[in-house]
Symmetry: C2
Subunit: 163 residues, 2 copies
Amino acid sequence: MVLSKACTYGILASLYVTREANRSKGYVSIGRMSKELNISFHFLTKILQQLTSAGILSSMKGPKGGVALKRNPQEISLVDIVVAIDGMGLFTDCLLGLPGCGEEKPCPVHDEWAGIRADLFHTFRGKSLAETAKRIDELNLRFALPSESEEGGKSIRDFRNLL
Amino acid sequence: MVLSKACTYGILASLYVTREANRSKGYVSIGRMSKELNISFHFLTKILQQLTSAGILSSMKGPKGGVALKRNPQEISLVDIVVAIDGMGLFTDCLLGLPGCGEEKPCPVHDEWAGIRADLFHTFRGKSLAETAKRIDELNLRFALPSESEEGGKSIRDFRNLL
DNA sequence: TTGATTTAAGACTCTTCTATCTTAAATAGA
DNA sequence: TCTATTTAAGATAGAAGAGTCTTAAATCAA
């Protein structure tokens, strides 16, 4: 898995908060969010705490409490979320896990992977929460996990796209 | 982590076997390989069993036994190793883990990720064991894990390369 | 002030991945 | 044939990730 589960949940939740912020002021309830995204409440709470301590979200306890974006959603990139939860490893580590792999002491696939991971970094660093949330609305995209009732049935693995 | 530990070990071992095959005929000892690559013998054995049952390696028990490439190393790509151990998920699954994500029912980052993962697939599908092993010799690259004595000290994370 | 609501924090469980250990099976060579 | 060697296979253990549960702390509203 490229991103941890916690990280993907963090991204989905951040997009949810961004969209809610466009509709109404105030904090977004974690309870409500967990229901709509079909993410375990307690697990989601932990993830949002990480985003809060990373300075991406702010939170408020009590009635009408919840979480809110701390900065302008145009200034928060998807990479910010990934780094806050999974760290920089995806964008810096050797594909083969060789410590110290780098320009001076490369592994057999260093150049290829370095190019792809840099592409990954720049692509998602260039996508802000605002822009991504906007596209969700415009194209009516899905961004919640399937509910129990929805079948879902693992992921569709379309090999044909690769050939 | 993009590749599982088992998968990276499998790649390193496959490259080791490829290079050994250039020097001498016969099977490559797993015991010797585990020592030179600094990979746990029993764990490595399990991984090589997966490659054997995937038809990538053949094995022989007893004295002078070990593993050998079953096919020409020019016809085995790095993707073959990855797929044998980690499966196709890396090249087919949604970055956000949404089941059913695809052209018809995309997630908010489907297009971007689909492009990068296809790039990843084609890049490493285009790299054969023979070609990669050759480059190791030519450029004197490293492809073993650091030994206990070598400090190693986690990986070097050079953020500057990204900015 | 009191009570209901909501996030914070820590302990705990469950699963998967990683790694180790033991025993069995096959093979080469004496 | 007998023995040492080497991979195969299964059981076990340890570590990390994923998810749950309980209690505490803060806040709003009555």
